[in-house]
């Protein structure tokens, strides 16, 4: 069976049933008054994993982190870190450090004092502490800024100080709350790779919260997609992208076309969806929907072929009119309006500089795709 | 450890709470109880006195001697009624004058160039830090018969005989407006300062005249500031003592002054307490209103 995406992984403790989870949420519920922020959630994260919690704001991902750091106690359920229950352990006694969204740098202390804060708290002797601080400053390339106050730094530098401070105590687990949210796009992309390198170098477990799907895709070993206090899907970036388990996940990560229809089986692990847009044949991996049930076929724009003539031998083909064209440089997105009124998005890679007779507005075109290129979703 | 920090966090609330209960709330209870007592010449000058040696029945007997006699006395004597009414009238008129002077000042400050605005703000706050008594006193030398204002006006030739201003209600109005002006200016200024000038531009763009835009946008958005300012002037002005005492005349009736006289000159603690209770009742509505506004502002600040 071909694998999803094109990354071969050597690090995948979550596939090993004997591996012991490093962090374990067991049926955790957190309520604030009548509002339920996290509902009956279970999750295992393994040592040295780069794990992302992804979701829109208010989905409960930050609450999850704050429970891990000790700023909130679960209303129900248990939390374990390295096999030890965390219930009742105050934040300052947890072997976990957090990098805050606002960075939370102490404004009245210098960069060096900020980094040394946790070490001092541990009673580390001064020579050792100074050495560690110097090491941290080197790690984040801020050696010459040791004596500055936070307000004398740029946004990117502040972010790195916050990072240095949170790893200075060599925690086994680092929690990062939207660590790159305040940076501009270019700096964010650079920092993503720096974070990954750092995680490798220090051998830490990272648990990161973000609402930026690209960020999560770039950095993570695994991603959990959250919605309204529950985890909708957990998986590697490729699993989440290529095999979403619901329309919510498919729609949240990247662009997707969703076509609706009633199910009829078509044999050989295939089903046919009859809907307003026509008949669509899709492949089913596990758990085929029942006949007559409503299901959805989700397909990414880059997996749709577009042409002027009806494609020969294609299992799925749809005819429509070009509605919008967006030229993005590396690719071109074409929106095609079907007879049913549904707009389907197709993306073509611009591999040649000069194209003879490109597709234009209001042309009649044919879209085609393989049953294996998309997924059949039941919710 | 957690127990200790739990105790600590309780103490954070408990210390100021107990302090205020003892030095703020309890004194009011005592005022109320004395307002219900009878005047007696002695020390302290009221009766009944409670003491533990009386036993329950003794205390009960004494409790039954508490009555509303003092309040009846206040209602029956036109001096007190007039004091209250006159206080309210003086406070109201002064508040309006303060608004009339304070609003243009705050508006002018809010529109001043960025460079000088902090200085202007400090200049408004500065008098607030200097003694109230001194600022009222400064007006005596200006307003009296042979004072600086009369000298100036005589010199200008505007008047032939000195005006009688000191020891009249006019002097009290001037004193209140002067003393409380910063209280009016600051909330209005902060409301106007927060306002985005592009709102006025948008109103003008949509066809408002300059004055129309002022009324429909600027003035509307300043309303919370104006209300806060008016309450901050009106409430303390009603109970004012120093200004009517130093600037007003024998004809100036204000309840704060009446209370002072009852207490210090007539040594009538029971009537003074009753006056305080009624003054408080008169002020309860604006005070509660102000408190809610404060609490809301604090909430919004979060």
């Amino acid at each position: 069976m071909p694998s999803l995406g094109n990354i071969r992984r050597s690090f995948a403790p979550w596939e090993d049933p004997a591996a012991k989870p490093y962090i374990s949420f067991q049926n955790v519920t957190k309520r604030f008054g009548t509002f339920t922020a996290v509902e009956n959630l279970s999750l295992n994260v393994y040592e040295r994993e780069f794990f992302s919690l992804l979701g829109p704001s208010g989905c409960g991902k930050t609450t999850l982190l704050r429970m891990l750091a000790g700023f909130e106690e679960p209303t129900e359920g248990e939390l374990y870190l390295d096999g030890q229950p965390l219930k009742g352990v105050p934040p300052h006694k947890r072997p976990v450090n957090m990098m805050f969204q606002s960075y939370a740098l102490f404004p009245h202390m210098t960069v060096a004092d900020n980094i040394a804060f946790g070490l001092k708290q541990d009673g580390m002797a001064k020579p050792e502490r100074d050495e560690r601080v110097a090491q941290m400053l080197k790690l984040v390339k801020l050696e010459q800024f040791a004596g500055r106050k936070p307000h004398q730094l740029s946004g990117g530098q502040r972010q790195r100080v916050a990072l240095a401070r949170s790893v200075a105590k060599r925690p086994k687990l680092l929690i990062l709350d939207e660590p790159l949210g305040a940076l501009d796009k270019k700096l964010r992309e650079e920092t993503q790779f720096e974070l990954m390198d750092l995680q490798q170098e220090l051998g830490l477990t990272f648990m990161i919260v973000t609402h930026d799907q690209e960020e999560a895709m770039t950095m993570s070993d695994r991603i959990a997609v959250m919605d309204k206090g529950v985890i909708v899907q957990t998986g590697t970036p490729a699993e989440i992208y290529e095999a979403p388990n619901s329309r919510y996940v498919a729609d949240f990560i990247g662009s997707v076309n969703i076509l609706e229809g009633k199910v009829t089986p078509a044999g050989e692990g295939r089903i046919v969806l009859d809907g307003p847009d026509g008949r669509i044949t899709g492949a089913v991996r596990d758990g085929a929907p029942a006949t007559g049930e409503t299901a959805w076929f989700a397909i990414r724009p880059e997996k749709i072929e577009i042409g002027r003539t009806p494609p020969e031998g294609a299992v799925n083909r749809l005819e429509g009119e070009v509605w919008d064209i967006a030229y993005l440089g590396d690719m071109t997105i074409i929106n095609v309006k079907l007879a049913s009124g549904t707009v389907v998005q197709a993306a073509t890679l611009n591999r040649f500089r000069l194209v003879e007779d490109p597709i234009g507005y209001e042309e009649r075109v044919w879209l085609s795709f393989n049953p294996d290129s998309g997924v059949v979703l039941r919710s | 450890m957690t127990l200790l920090s739990a105790i600590r966090s309780r103490l954070v609330i408990l210390i100021p709470y107990v302090w205020l209960l003892f030095f703020f709330l309890l004194p009011f209870m005592i005022v109320l109880r004395i307002a219900l007592s009878d005047l007696e010449y002695g020390s302290p000058p009221y009766t009944p006195q409670f003491s533990l040696s009386d036993g329950w029945s003794g205390i009960w007997d004494k409790l039954s001697t508490l009555d509303f006699e003092n309040f009846a006395f206040l209602v029956g004597d036109s001096l007190y009624i007039n004091s209250y009414l006159s206080s309210l009238k003086i406070a109201l008129i002064s508040t309006l004058f303060t608004l009339a002077i304070g609003f243009p000042l705050a508006y002018g400050m809010a529109r001043a160039p960025d460079r000088i605005r902090p200085t202007l703000l400090m200049l408004v706050i500065l008098p607030f830090w200097t003694s109230f008594l001194i600022r009222v006193y400064a007006w005596i030398g200006i307003l009296k018969q042979e004072g600086l204002l009369n000298q100036f006006l005589l010199w200008l030739g505007v008047i032939d005989t000195p005006l009688e201003i000191l020891s009249t209600n006019t002097a009290v109005y001037i004193g209140i407006v002067y003393s409380y002006l910063p209280f009016m200016v600051l909330p209005i200024y902060s409301a106007l300062d927060k306002m985005d000038e592009s709102l006025v531009e948008a109103a003008r763009d949509l066809g408002c005249t300059r004055i129309g835009a002022f009324w429909k946008v600027t003035a509307r958005l300043a309303v919370p500031g104006v209300l806060a300012g008016c309450l901050l002037v009106f409430i303390p002005a009603v109970g004012e003592f120093v200004i009517p005492d130093l600037l007003g005349g024998s004809g100036t009736l204000m309840i704060g002054k009446t209370l002072w006289i009852e207490f210090f000159n007539n040594s009538d603690w029971t009537v003074a307490s009753a006056i305080a209770i009624i003054l408080l009742i008169v002020l309860v509505v604006p005070i509660v209103w102000f408190q809610n506004a404060q609490a809301k502002a604090a909430e919004a600040g979060k």
């Binding site: 730094l153 105590k169 | 001043a112 005596i140």
Partner: protein
């Protein structure tokens, strides 16, 4: 808001400030008047200031006032800060409404009522009136002002700073002392200064709660003012105004330079 500064605006500002400052300026000028008749200018002289320093009663009163102000401001700052922390951090506890009410009410309470009620308290618990009763009374009303000043700073305080300290191994109380307090310190200091000047200025509450041997400066000034305007009083007032103004101006210049420095640093940081 930033628009054209019209003539109307300029006029109202100039007029407003003239009204605010002219009486004080006149008072200061006439404190240097040679003549005993305060309203007739008879040449420059500093003799009234000399007189002042020979007036033992006035000096005693000044000393009492400064001590009362110092003690009451300090205690009020501690209590007021605790009250502010309670108001901001503990949004739910028994009697919070009453507590909030007790913190805000003294801000607008007529002084005669506060003074009378405290006096009656001291009488009924047989507490001898004097220095300490005035001090206790001043603590009580100025702690509310401190609470409001500190509270307004605390609501904008980023709580994640305190959480970061805890996360790095600080117990909650230490985190407050090491991180929160240094950050809100400017507000606490201005709370103290406010409490100090409130106590320095107060006449009404002190008159009610004071006793023999504890005459404060405002009480002394008041008793003399009732007899009429004298250049000596003008001189006392000038000194008081001078001390307070210099204090406030220095404080605001310090804040301003720090602010300017900070903005410059920030611009420099982002220009890198």
């Amino acid at each position: 808001m930033n628009a054209r500064w019209s003539w109307f605006n300029i006029t109202s500002v100039v007029f407003g400030f003239a009204f605010l400052y002219l009486p004080i300026v006149l008072l200061v000028i006439y404190s240097f008047n040679e003549s005993r008749l305060v309203t007739v200018w008879a040449g420059f002289s500093t003799k009234w200031y000399g007189e002042l320093f020979r007036n033992q009663g006035l000096l005693d009163a000044a000393w009492v006032t400064v001590r009362v102000a110092f003690i009451s401001a300090t205690v009020a700052t501690v209590l007021g800060t605790l009250a502010a922390v309670s108001l901001v951090r503990f949004t739910r506890f028994n009697g919070r409404t009453l507590f909030t009410g007790m913190v805000y009410a003294p801000l607008v309470m007529p002084e005669v009522i506060t003074g009378l009620s405290l006096l009656l308290l001291f009488v009924s618990i047989n507490f001898a009136r004097g220095f300490w009763t005035v001090t206790l009374a001043h603590i009580t009303f100025s702690l509310c002002f401190v609470a409001v000043v500190v509270q307004s700073r605390l609501v904008t305080f980023d709580r994640s700073l305190e959480e970061a300290a805890q996360d790095l191994g600080c117990p909650p109380f230490q985190a407050f002392m090491k991180v929160t307090l240094p950050v809100i310190l400017p507000a606490v200091i201005s709370g103290w200064m406010l409490a100090f000047t409130l106590s320095l200025d107060d006449l009404v509450i002190a008159s009610f709660t004071s006793g023999p041997g504890a005459t404060t400066l405002p009480m002394k000034i008041y008793s003399q003012v009732r007899l009429g305007v004298t250049p000596e009083i003008n001189a006392v007032c000038t000194i008081l105004i001078g001390v307070v103004s210099v204090g406030v101006i220095i404080a605001s210049i310090l804040t301003k330079t720090r602010e300017v420095q900070r903005q410059r640093d920030e611009q420099a940081a982002f220009a890198q």
